[in-house]
Symmetry: C2
Subunit: 405 residues, 2 copies
């Protein structure tokens, strides 16, 4: 009767994600690894199986959308665990970590590319360096949440640095693509405009949000309607995610900012009358959506890309630079903190690196694409390796931290 | 950086739905009406505004998918409130109510259509009658949930009858379209096959589910993974929704069956160690998704369809027959129950009526479509009126019931 109902196939895919995700999380936990590693690997295993149903999942638009909502909700949850004041307390250190973590991988990546691909033009070297800059905060956020260490200074520093990272990466992308498009010259006005929009969004969202959030929540608490707390909280999350995108930033930055400006005390009107707090209300929604993001990330990893000739050596070099560069960045955290934990938390590269690489595939220098099949394979390998090694390393280091505290 | 990210527009649309939905629910509650009526009317108001952003929401595939998940989750929640045993206790009465509620509107609708459209062939009269048969259970389920009367016998009877309704409607659609396609003759084998699949699904889902649910839940409780209860419950919901669709039924029938087979006692392993129960975990997910369904339903109502010449009289007659037919069906509930409440609960027609009508637009008799613009407008009016009058009427009657109990 409803043969074309698009929800039918999504139901099947969600069933698979939910069952496989929980089983994989269970196995990972039994091996003393974070659940997110299990979900990623399970996705990769599913993706490697030659079953049409599983291959379809890669391109299911509904599942894709749920994954995107999942990472938004994850960052919103992470933001809820901290306040703007706590973030500002680690602000200077986060700025140092982010800056080092962008400059060092950029320069080292550039040099490595020049050494291994001497025949390619400078644009290729610069672009490969740029793919190494932006941290993908989803993995780290999830590990910290799973371990219950989201409220340490180290966790806040990593998240703050990852947000600044996103802004710097955005500006860098504008500079590099602008320079390539105009044959080598940088457009200072464009760079200024893009950075201005991004910084303006953050300043506005945080300052206005801090003022607005308690007032909106108080008004919502007086509504004669069930679910007003959750609707207001999620409404703020989605509104800021949209505004962040309008400002040219990743939507997750807005979702994180929304979580930061909301504090427990804002919704005491609700919790005082026995309703669940916002974190407890968002938790089950996250449990539905977040694993979709990680299982799908695993499913979409095309492992055959590594087998392209010439990829392994370049990939190995990029991985080394990607890891080393962020561990060096951790030194910016200062002596008060566990600098290695911060550096490890910054390692994962994800969608931003791949977005850089795919934009590079569309840019041409001397008639050839800046990123070809070989260099794309190497970037993909870098993303996969940095994603997979972070959960065990970070878990190991944060557990040490927990014991010494 | 992520200009084509489809989640960005969805974020904006969700923000609107969440804020408008809660405000409308608040206003409806202040006027002593169910929140769902507020959401429907708010959607209709938004849809009537000449604002491009709001018009886009009608066709946002992501929002559409969330609405479809919303109605699944709503029926899952409603199913959780009852058990298979309780449903079987009202089974015979539900069968009577469903059968009367299909036959009476079909025959009366047929006669009305013949009287008002004497120039049209019999196929048109039969088809218009058929659009009046299937109850759209979403509205009633939501009103009962909002009022906290989901566990009365009347509520179970309405829901059981609506499920049987769906099966009967499906068979009827097969008979009518088969007869039109073959020029008047009914294909008994097709009818048998279609009804067999639907009844087979229900029997299998409920009997196997009752056996399987406690075992799966017990196994899940032993997983070393957070969120195992929710993942297992939702996994079962989505799996049965998919299976229902495979059997040719509406996915909501499967979601409802999943809710029925799951009982509190199955997940005592979880709640005994202090985790929230399944109903509490699903509630916030429903609060996010369910209003999307109702606001979007309102948004998509094209009120200009009523203005087509010739529509008002036919629409008025169909509305009268649609309401009268289901109130008569309520008599099948027997003396022990509030027969008027049952009849009122069966009144809403929704997507199934519209699906019938749109299939009719594609069928031709003597070179003309079975359902033309005029008759489609009348069916649409019938859907809108039955949807809008049910919440206040049902609330009024169920409140009486609550007082006398």
């Amino acid at each position: 009767m409803e043969g074309q109902d698009p929800v039918v196939l999504l139901c099947l895919h969600l069933t698979i994600v939910l069952f496989v995700g929980r089983l994989a999380g269970h196995l990972a936990n039994r091996l003393r690894q974070p659940a997110v590693l299990g979900e990623l690997v399970a996705g990769m295993v599913l993706g490697a199986l030659p079953i049409a149903l599983l291959q379809e999942m890669r391109t299911d638009a509904g599942l894709d959308l749920m994954a995107r909502l999942g990472v938004l909700l994850l960052l919103f949850q992470v933001g809820l665990e901290s306040t703007v004041r706590q973030m500002l307390a680690v602000g200077a250190a986060a700025m140092r970590v982010a800056t080092i973590g962008v400059v060092v991988p950029l320069v080292l990546g550039w040099l490595v590319a020049r050494a291994l691909l001497p025949q390619e033009p400078t644009a290729v070297h610069a672009f490969l360096g740029a793919t190494l800059t932006a941290t993908s905060v989803g993995i780290t956020a999830r590990v910290l949440r799973d371990m219950g260490t989201g409220q340490t200074d180290e966790a806040r520093l990593i998240l703050g640095a990852a947000v600044i990272d996103d802004v710097l990466g955005l500006v860098l992308l504008a500079v590099v693509t602008g320079a390539i498009a105009s044959g080598g010259s940088v457009q200072p006005l464009d760079v200024l405009f893009i950075s201005g929009k991004a910084i303006g969004f953050l300043a506005l969202a945080l300052s206005l949000g801090v003022w607005l959030a308690p007032r909106v929540m108080h008004a919502a608490s007086r509504l004669h309607a069930s679910g007003a707390l959750l609707a207001t909280g999620l409404g703020l999350c989605f509104a800021l995610a949209w505004l962040a995108a309008v400002a040219g930033l990743a939507p997750i930055v807005g979702a994180f900012a929304a979580g930061l400006v909301l504090e427990d005390i804002h919704y005491r009107d609700f919790t005082d009358r026995g309703e669940l707090g916002l974190e407890k209300l968002v938790a089950p929604i996250g449990e539905l959506f977040v694993p979709v993001f990680f299982v799908l990330m695993g499913l979409r990893t095309d492992l055959t890309g590594f087998l392209t000739p010439g990829v392994p050596l370049l990939a190995f070099a990029l991985v080394a630079v990607a890891i080393g560069g962020k561990i060096v960045a951790g030194l910016g955290a200062g002596r008060r903190m566990d600098r290695l934990a911060v550096g490890l938390g910054m390692i994962p590269r994800g969608e931003v690196g791949l977005i850089f690489a795919s934009i590079g595939q569309g840019l041409h220098v001397a008639g050839k694409p800046v990123i070809n099949a070989q260099t794309y394979g190497a970037v993909l390998a870098m993303v996969v390796v940095t994603t997979l090694i972070t959960p065990p390393l970070l878990r190991w280091r944060m557990a040490r931290l927990g014991q010494s505290a």
